[in-house]
Symmetry: C2
Subunit: 336 residues, 2 copies
C-alpha cells in the first residue's frame, strides 16, 4: 500500500480524494511560467497533504497555451512529483486540444483530469455536450482515463447537468470518475451526491464529488463526497486537510462546525471584492509570506493587487490570525 | 489601384470594408478541417464581392486548435487567396496564442485581424482588458498590425466598452483599426459610431465599425459605419453586398428599407430557434444548395440539423424565395 493519504484504499479503484489545490502558476517578468517556483510550490503543497490540480481556473490555465501546460506538466513529473497525486485541468474549447492534453496526462500517469466543458459557445444542449465528452473519451481511448467533470457556471457559463452525468456514466462507468462542483450552491452539490455518490450507488465504480470551495467541505464529507479542490488550498492546505480528516473519521454526531467556520473566516479574506480577483489575492499572499514579490504577478486580463490592496490583504490576514509556513528552507533557497 | 471594391480608396490607409463572411469551416468525417471545400467556399465568396473573415464565431474557430487555424490560413494564402481581402479571427483566451495567430496573420499580409477579448474569466475590468490588448500589440510589434475588436457579449460574455476603445485608440491610433459589434443592439453600435467613426473623427486614422448582422447594415452605413461581417454572408453575400453598395452610394433620402427588409426576412430563416444553431443551419444550407452532404457536419459541442430540421429549413428557404448559386462549375467539380 502507498503511504499516501490522498489515495483511497479501495483495492479495486485507487481514486484520488481529499484536499487538492488548483495550483497557482507563478510567472516570470516576461510572463512565461516559472517552473522553479511552480515546483517548489507543488512540493510544499504535497508536504501539507494537499494533492495537486494544476491548470485549473485558479492556475490561470486558460491564460496559457496548450503547449505551456504540457511543458509544465512534464516539468512536474520529470522533477519527481508523484503523478498519482495530480489531477491536471485539460478542458479547452476545442476537442483537439482537450484530447491532446488529456492523453498526455493519462500517459504521464496522472490520477485523473479535471475537464471543463467547451466554454465558448453558450446555450449548448445536453446532447451537444454529450457529443463532446463522448468524442474526447473515444479519441483518448485509454483504459486508465479518469475524467472529473468541472462544473463552474459563474465562469464557464456552460455547465454540467445531472442528466449529462447520468448519460456519460451509463456509457463510460470507468472513465467518468467524478466531478468538481464550483457552482457555489450546496443544493446543486447535494443533487449530484444524492444521485451519483457512493452512498447512492454502492460498488467499486464510484462517482467522486469534490466541492470547489472548502466552505462546503464538511457538508460534502457528511453526504458522501470525496473532498475539495479549492483555490485557497494553495495557502491554507493544512487546516483544510485537517477538517477533511476529522470529517471523514468521526461520526456525524460530533460538532465540527467551529472548524468549518474557522476555514470560512480565512476564505472570506481572499474572496473580498475589494481585491481584483481571488487568484491575485492568493498570489499576493504567497508573495507576502514567502517574502517573494515575484509571486504576485498575474497574466492579463487579470490584475495584480496594488500596493494599497496588498497592505489591506496583509492586515486582514493578520486580523484573522492567518499564518502560512512559507518561510522554510525551500523559500530561503529561492531567495538566494 | 486594385480592382477591389472591398478595399477603400483612401491613399493613406487602404482599409478593408464592405461585406465580409466569417467563413464557415467544412469538416471531414474525422472532424479535421477540409481545406479543399474551405478554399472553394472562399473563392465563391470572393466572387460575390464578399471579403473573408475566417476563424470567427460562425467558423467554429474556438472549436479548433491554434495550429489548425494557422494551417488553414496558410492553405488559403498558399492557394492564392488575396490576403488583403481577409481578416482572420485571432483572439484566444491566452496572450500566447493570440499573439502567435495575430503575428502570423500580419506576416501573411492579412488586411487585419478580428480579435475577441480573452473570454474565460468573467467580470474582467477595463484596466485588465487594456493590459491584455496592450500586451498583444507590444508583442506583435509590427507597424502593419490592424486590430478589429470583436464585441460579442451574448457568446463571449466579456465585452468591449467605449472607454476601452478610447484608451486603446489613444495608445495605438494605427493598430486599433475598428471593431465588429455583434451585440445585436443598434443603440450600442450607435454609441461607438458617434464616438469613434470617421464622421466623429475626420482624418486619415479611422475607426471602422462593422455590424455583426446585416439587419443593421443600412443603419450602419447611414451613420458612418464600414460594413458588416455577418454569418449569413456565407450564403447570401450578393444581396447583402448590393445593399452595402447602394447604401454607400445614394443619399439618405432614398428609401432602402425594402431592401433591408428583404435581407432580414432571409436572415430570420437561419436564426429560427427551431434549429440547433445558426452555424449548423448555414452549413446545412450550403449542403442543400451544393447538393453536398459533407457540408452539414459541425464539431461538438454544436449539433448538425436532423433530417426533419433540414427539411424544415429547405422549405422555409423556398418559402422566402431564397436562392444560392452554389451549382456552378466549382461545385460540379467538387462532386466528382
Amino acid at each position: 500500500m502507498l503511504d499516501n493519504s490522498v489515495i483511497d484504499g479501495v483495492a479495486t479503484s485507487k481514486r484520488i480524494r481529499g484536499v487538492l489545490a488548483p495550483v497557482l502558476t507563478p510567472f516570470n517578468p516576461d510572463l512565461s511560467p516559472d517552473p522553479e517556483r511552480f515546483l517548489r510550490h507543488c512540493r510544499w503543497l504535497l508536504s501539507q497533504n494537499c494533492g495537486l490540480a494544476p491548470f485549473g481556473t485558479t492556475s490561470e490555465a486558460n491564460s496559457m497555451s496548450a503547449e505551456e501546460r504540457i511543458s509544465l506538466l512534464d516539468a512536474m513529473i520529470g522533477a519527481g512529483i508523484d503523478p498519482s497525486r495530480t489531477m491536471p485541468g485539460t478542458g479547452c474549447c476545442s476537442i483537439v486540444e482537450t484530447v491532446e492534453l488529456t492523453a498526455h496526462a493519462v500517459k504521464q500517469g496522472c490520477a485523473g483530469v479535471l475537464m471543463l466543458p467547451p466554454f465558448y459557445y453558450k446555450n449548448i444542449t445536453e446532447e451537444g455536450l454529450y457529443g463532446y465528452f463522448n468524442e474526447v473519451v473515444q479519441r483518448v481511448a485509454d483504459a486508465r482515463l479518469k475524467i472529473y467533470l468541472y462544473h463552474i457556471p459563474p465562469v464557464a457559463i456552460v455547465g454540467i447537468t445531472p442528466r449529462l452525468v447520468e448519460r456519460l456514466l451509463r456509457a463510460y462507468p470507468d472513465a467518468i470518475a467524478g466531478m468538481k462542483d464550483s457552482s457555489g450552491d450546496w443544493n446543486n452539490t447535494k443533487i449530484f451526491l444524492d444521485a451519483f455518490a457512493e452512498i447512492a450507488r454502492p460498488g467499486p465504480r464510484r462517482f467522486d464529488v469534490f466541492v470547489g470551495s472548502e466552505s462546503f467541505l464538511l457538508a460534502n464529507m457528511r453526504n458522501g463526497g470525496a473532498g475539495t479542490i479549492s483555490a485557497t488550498a494553495n495557502v491554507n492546505p493544512a487546516a483544510i486537510y485537517e477538517l477533511f480528516t476529522v470529517a471523514s473519521a468521526v461520526s456525524a454526531g460530533v460538532d465540527l462546525k467551529p472548524q468549518q467556520d474557522r476555514l470560512n473566516l480565512v476564505r472570506e479574506v481572499f474572496s473580498n471584492t475589494k481585491f481584483p480577483s481571488m487568484i491575485a489575492a492568493l498570489k499576493q499572499t504567497i508573495s507576502i509570506y514567502a517574502k517573494d514579490p515575484e509571486w504576485a504577478r498575474v497574466r492579463p486580463p487579470l490584475l495584480a493587487l496594488t500596493v494599497r490592496e496588498a497592505k489591506l490583504l496583509a492586515a486582514e490576514l493578520k486580523a484573522v490570525g492567518f499564518a502560512m509556513n512559507r518561510m522554510g528552507d525551500t523559500d530561503q533557497e529561492l531567495r538566494k
